[in-house]
Subunit: 323 residues, 2 copies
Amino acid sequence: MKKVALGIDIGGTNTKFGFVDKEGKVYCESSISTTKPGEKFEDYLNNLYNEVQQSLESAPEKLEIIGVGVGAPNGNYFNGCIEFAANLPWKGIIRAAQLMSDKWGVPAYLTNDANAAAIGEMLFGTAKGMKDFIVITLGTGVGSGIVVNGEVVYGHDGFAGELGHVVVEPGDRECNCGRKGCLEVYCSANGIRRTVFELLCKKNDNSVLRDISFNELTSAKIYEAAIEGDHIAREAFRYTGKMLGRALADFVTFSSPEAIILFGGLAKSGELIRKPTEESMEEHMLFCFKNKVKVLLSSMDEGNVAVMGSAALAWHEMEKKNK
Amino acid sequence: MKKVALGIDIGGTNTKFGFVDKEGKVYCESSISTTKPGEKFEDYLNNLYNEVQQSLESAPEKLEIIGVGVGAPNGNYFNGCIEFAANLPWKGIIRAAQLMSDKWGVPAYLTNDANAAAIGEMLFGTAKGMKDFIVITLGTGVGSGIVVNGEVVYGHDGFAGELGHVVVEPGDRECNCGRKGCLEVYCSANGIRRTVFELLCKKNDNSVLRDISFNELTSAKIYEAAIEGDHIAREAFRYTGKMLGRALADFVTFSSPEAIILFGGLAKSGELIRKPTEESMEEHMLFCFKNKVKVLLSSMDEGNVAVMGSAALAWHEMEKKNK
């Protein structure tokens, strides 16, 4: 029987799950809906359990679940609870890890999605073999998972690693967090959209982006325009990289990582975002860190990275216990 | 026989040493000159060894050195070397820990002064019992020692924790590091002096500080003026706290510490610096960290904190080995 960890990624709309062996091979990925009107967590969990068991039975080889790893918004590693997650249907504090451990009769571990992604990178991805690195997730928002000496930095309350909310331009663009000038308002998918609109205001260049409304504009459309050579779109990527690189130079003074790994929707733009980010980071770097820190793109398939990261958490924790 | 660690603090001018037991009691502190023209490290070490042995013999009770801890500028924890320290007389890379271990026949450990201070706070000072905290040293420059989950953050090369060089005002005041707007140019002893001169330019208030030249002005004089109610001096402390607090709010998003401990010359100004720092930190803090992180003053006596920190490093490392 092949030993696997059950990786569960709880998102606002869907919950993905899959079985991942110690080498990072993923078996039978599937998903269920996270949100059903009025459903309690216990009902959701019963539903999830049934789906998982069905997948297990239909797997091409015999699998044995030896641990469960869960990635969830507002997931607190220390107590295994999902705490007041605004984008999930269950209110208050959910003892998710404990309930899942009871359900499957194996240890269960929980953290937030960005930390799970970092552990996934360390065990199965670009950070394989590294002990000090930072994963920056460039998605709808900007998230981060920080690894120091082979362990995720959780902080005293489990909420460390909110680097999307480091303030890079005090008093500038409004952020959803209620403050102004956070990294997130420049370097997320929404941030680059805002940058495009600032550039459309400031510059006179023709651009295909002048025909698209704010609400219709996506980072994918900006990417396509940039590939076609659109000046505004290319400048938007340069500016995004400049802002991100400046922030990364500050992050380096904190934990002196071997590498910073970019992940998520915007990171799929590849060199368009990586190159200006690296250049800006080097330009702003303190002398003793210059030319030491790599800016890398995640090599993990975004389709199943969340599930792999969650499963990686379980493998990592079980390995620590066996030491 | 009382078991003690030999704590050695290598400064640009003097080297302090002392014996510290596991409870933090310091025996027979003394010092030698670090710099003698043309002296090699080996000669310096022989000299230090003789002084230490004399102290040991004159101690009021029998002491047994079971480990050596060293704090030094540019001290690299990983290899135990002092690397290219601009303010020390020895050039290149000095294998200080190895040479000291050979000399005393016990394990020796080395790190930089700010990290040693952090371990000292954790074992013997304000951070006793804490596992996640940051020590900010407000001296000639601004240094930092970051502790995550009970361990100092060294980073992949041993140079983590350069928070004095986070850029807080891009393009503003020149820093010794060659860049502009680093935290250090606002919140060090030199930084508050620069702030006084900015205020003397901008404001019309009378001030005793108008009679003192830049080179003659010290943070102690600014402190004295502030205590006497001098408006410029008080405003300089408020501004220093404001800048520091803003930076601390960003540091919290990184490692979510239980407390931030202020240490060094400026921290001796007490509430004059602590209060505006805390207020500014709370004002700029991301909502999920508000009212959770304490700003504390170091309770350690600055006279021997460096020696205690160095000895604490030795105790901490020996304890890890015995686990």
